[in-house]
Amino acid sequence: MTRKSLQRACVIAISLSLLNLGSPVIAMAGIIDTQTVIEAGQRDADLATIRAGLDRTDVRQQFTSLGVDPAVVDMRLAALTDAEIAQLADEMQQMPAGGDILAVIGIVFVVLVILELVGVIDIFKKT
């Protein structure tokens, strides 16, 4: 898995560097980027940048299926690091999504009122 990914990265890196020879436009081909170094320091497994392309596609799909406007998805993805993208790809459905107490209805509400009254939780405003 790791080896295969690295081989792929190698091929991509070489292809890119070949494409850019003699061109004044600078690609990041030969540069090892900062995120990759951070990732490598934190994990033994494969380097996140190598997976990033796949993960971004996956996260883009998840976002749109959750109702995010496709027109802004890329802008949102562009501001995330590769490690963050990888984390989203794996856990987007389980991550805390800060919303509001209005989401609480019915029986859950009753349970919460009871918990509130005995002081276990604190969701209702006091005056």
């Binding site: 790791t2 690295l6 081989q7 990265a9 190698c10 890196a13 070489i14 560097s17 070949l18 020879l21 003699g22 600078i26 990041m28 081909a29 030969g30 540069i31 090892i32 980027d33 900062t34 995120q35 170094v37 951070i38 490598a40 494969d46 380097l47 976002f63 959750l66 109702g67 995010v68 802004v72 802008m75 949102r76 562009a78 501001a79 995330l80 690091t81 590769d82 963050e84 989203l88 987007m92 991550m95 805390p96 999504a97 800060g98 919303g99 509001d100 107490i101 209005l102 989401a103 609480v104 859950v108 349970v111 919460l112 918990l115 005995v118 002081g119 276990v120 939780i121 604190d122 969701i123």
Partner: protein, 319 residues
């Protein structure tokens, strides 16, 4: 039987918080500190529907001199299908405004010292319980050590006072997650080096290169030899096409750590781009000799191949 009943009553009283408990804020305030701080100028954006994420983020961004409203942030951080916003997207959106989202050390003293430094703190709370979580973002704008209360902008409440103890339990259930929004030239007192530099690297990853460079510069003023900040500064300059500055940063890092094969690889690439092929070859050869993480070997080999090819092309010109 009676003793048992009495025990139950005591237990209920304890649970209801009727028994005196020691304060939380006063003992952890730094010695010569104001007992009451409230950042009254921090604006308020009342949340709509489930949108406490955009509201809380607009609050801290505005306090960091970004002209933005909660409504404008909805399309950047709100996920309709989750009826909420993810922590990672709050970070990402802040980068989009050239601000540095800095995750705080997960402690009350860290939170209080940011307030004392005039920075409101965006926090995640779990207002429910672990099995029925109710995730909520709010902004802490003050504290009162005399009453042991924190002051928040929260939901539709412009000024909410909550006891430190209650706040701590909801904050704890959310993993003590908190961020401040910094101008990239600012490093908080007592900032954690690794956390700050990684936050700067987040700006770089989001391609906010000028902001990232300012953050790396600020980091290097505080920690002059930090390897990651030096590497990042080199990479940001490379990305901006400032090859001279990129080379200078890589060389500065290599002066600190001559065995930094990644800096040497990047230096070699920079020299290649500048047309100094012989020096590039010397550096990539040295990089490969000092490599100690073989996962990077293919990347170094790719750089070497590019340099070699350029050399061959130079030696045997077309036609």
């Amino acid at each position: 039987m009676t003793a048992k009943a009495a025990g139950a009553v005591v237990g209920a009283l304890l649970a209801a918080g009727c028994v005196h408990r020691p304060p939380l804020i006063e003992p952890v305030l730094a010695a010569p500190a104001e007992p009451v701080v409230e950042l009254s100028d921090v604006p308020f954006f009342p949340q709509r529907d489930y949108q406490c994420g955009p509201a809380a983020l607009a609050t801290v961004l505005s306090a960091a001199a970004v002209a933005v409203t909660a409504d404008e942030l909805v399309e950047r951080v709100y996920i309709p299908g989750r009826k909420g916003s993810l922590q990672l997207e709050l970070l990402a959106a802040s980068r989009g405004f050239d601000r540095l989202p800095y995750p705080l050390e997960p402690t009350l003293p860290a939170l209080l010292s940011e307030i004392a430094a005039q920075r409101p703190v965006l926090v995640l709370q779990n207002l429910g319980i672990d099995s029925v979580p109710i995730w909520h973002y709010a902004v802490v704008i003050g504290f009162d050590a005399t009453t042991d209360h924190l002051i928040l902008r929260s939901g539709t409440t412009q000024r909410m006072e909550t006891s430190a103890r209650r706040f701590m339990s909801s904050w704890k259930r959310a993993g003590f997650w908190a961020i401040v929004i910094l101008d990239p030239g600012t490093v908080p007192d007592g900032a954690d080096r690794g956390r700050y530099v990684e936050a700067a690297a987040g700006l770089e990853a989001a391609r906010r290169y000028d902001a990232a460079a300012r953050a790396y510069d600020a980091a290097l003023r505080r920690w002059p030899d930090d390897p990651l900040a030096l590497l990042g500064l080199g990479n940001v300059n490379y990305a901006r096409g400032n090859l001279v500055d990129a080379e200078a940063a890589y060389r500065r890092l290599l002066a600190v750590d001559p065995a930094h094969f990644i800096a040497r690889n990047n230096l070699a690439q920079t020299l290649l781009d500048r047309g100094d092929l012989q020096s590039a070859m010397t550096e990539i050869t040295a990089a490969q000799a000092s490599i100690d993480d073989l996962r990077f070997a293919p990347l170094l080999a790719a750089t070497e191949a590019a340099i070699r090819q350029a050399l061959e092309k130079q030696e045997r010109p077309q036609r």
